[in-house]
Symmetry: C2
Subunit: 220 residues, 2 copies
């Protein structure tokens, strides 16, 4: 079984590594991290560089595709990017095509979400609607072959859900125990419904600034 995590310059690292870590313990699964071209790939906070070994062209029939988000994802979805064509192509052969956070906008740009319920980072529901999806405030939205997860950390919940589907609940529970995923956040501020409007707008502004920094620059 092949699990492909599909990246691009300025993805969000945790969107990718949460699912990577879960699937890395699935017996019989090969997890490949791929991008348009092999070589170094920097994340959207510019502090991490992953060395990519597989190009999209090397990954023709993955069983599962996971598309992480990133501060640049809205822009890529609007202006077009090689990952969008690759998603559209391999989706014909996957068992599950999935996204984390604003990775859903890339699924949307590939035409996969028209008329479907889907989720993304809470700050990007309007963009998701523009691709014909029905934005849904759930942690993981399951539309059969297509699953979408909420922002960043939701990729861990998505991956455990997928492992349960692919290998049964005991396999998923074993991995959850191995990763000691018994979350106890020190605050209860993880969803927009749980915080003040002021905090919500502050965070929205930071994320939008984060996006803007890539649009005028030269992505590495």
């Amino acid at each position: 079984m092949q699990i492909a995590i599909a990246l691009y310059p300025h993805h969000t690292a945790l969107d990718a590594i949460g699912p990577y870590q879960v699937f890395s313990y699935l017996p019989g699964a090969e997890v490949v991290v791929c991008a348009a071209a092999p070589g170094p790939l920097v994340d959207d906070r510019r502090g991490l560089t992953l060395e990519i070994t597989h190009a999209f062209g090397d990954i023709e029939a993955p069983d599962v595709v996971i598309v992480p988000g990133g501060l640049i994802a809205r822009a890529l979805a609007r202006r077009g990017d090689p990952i969008i064509d690759w998603i559209r192509d391999v989706h014909e052969r996957t068992r599950f095509t999935t996204s984390v956070c604003t990775g859903a906008l890339l699924l949307g740009a590939a035409g996969l979400l028209r008329g479907r319920r889907a989720t993304t980072h809470w700050s990007s529901y309007d963009e998701l609607r523009a691709y014909g999806a029905e934005p849904t405030a759930e942690r993981v939205v399951d539309e059969g072959r297509i699953l979408t997860a909420a922002g960043v950390s939701a990729g861990i919940d998505l991956a455990l859900t997928l492992v349960g589907r692919l290998a049964g609940p005991e396999a998923a529970q074993a991995i959850q125990l191995g990763l000691e995923y018994d979350p106890q956040p020190p605050y209860d501020a993880g969803s927009p419904a749980k915080v003040s409007p002021e905090l919500r707008e502050l965070v929205r502004a930071v994320l939008t600034d984060g996006e803007d920094q890539y649009l005028g620059g030269t992505p590495a």
Copy 2:
């Protein structure tokens, strides 16, 4: 403010990237990922390669040190490794010296945990005790300047705790919201107290096998 995430070949990727992502949004903080030498560094599931730009020698006075765990960490703690000497040295100048998962064994080997409460991955309490610590089944154990977190995913909770300490609760809550960290695991199997003895022993065996594979081989 400098946050140093200290790595070694065959660390666990999510132990590092959870805290990295949280701190990447802390205003005014520089997050550096360092190791004994610059160059490519493979994780303990061998599917990810990080390009390291900073050597330990370049990081002399970090404000915060975070030491991730890895399947090889027990062996490194026993046989010695450059990271142990570096931890012992910079701890004299840090504001917080912290670990995720079996990273605690490296703090232990550096002599930092003698007579202190500490935590680690649930499968490694005995090893932790061998370094003079008092193993404690809590998500994050706070001993003032030294904080230790439970297995793998607990690094996210540790990092939010630290941000609250360094920059106040509103900063931590803003980051939690930005990462949409409102966890909803599809199963409730994230701690050893929540699963059957059979599942617990199965997972312990997998993790021990995982460790053994490095001891005879040649770490990349």
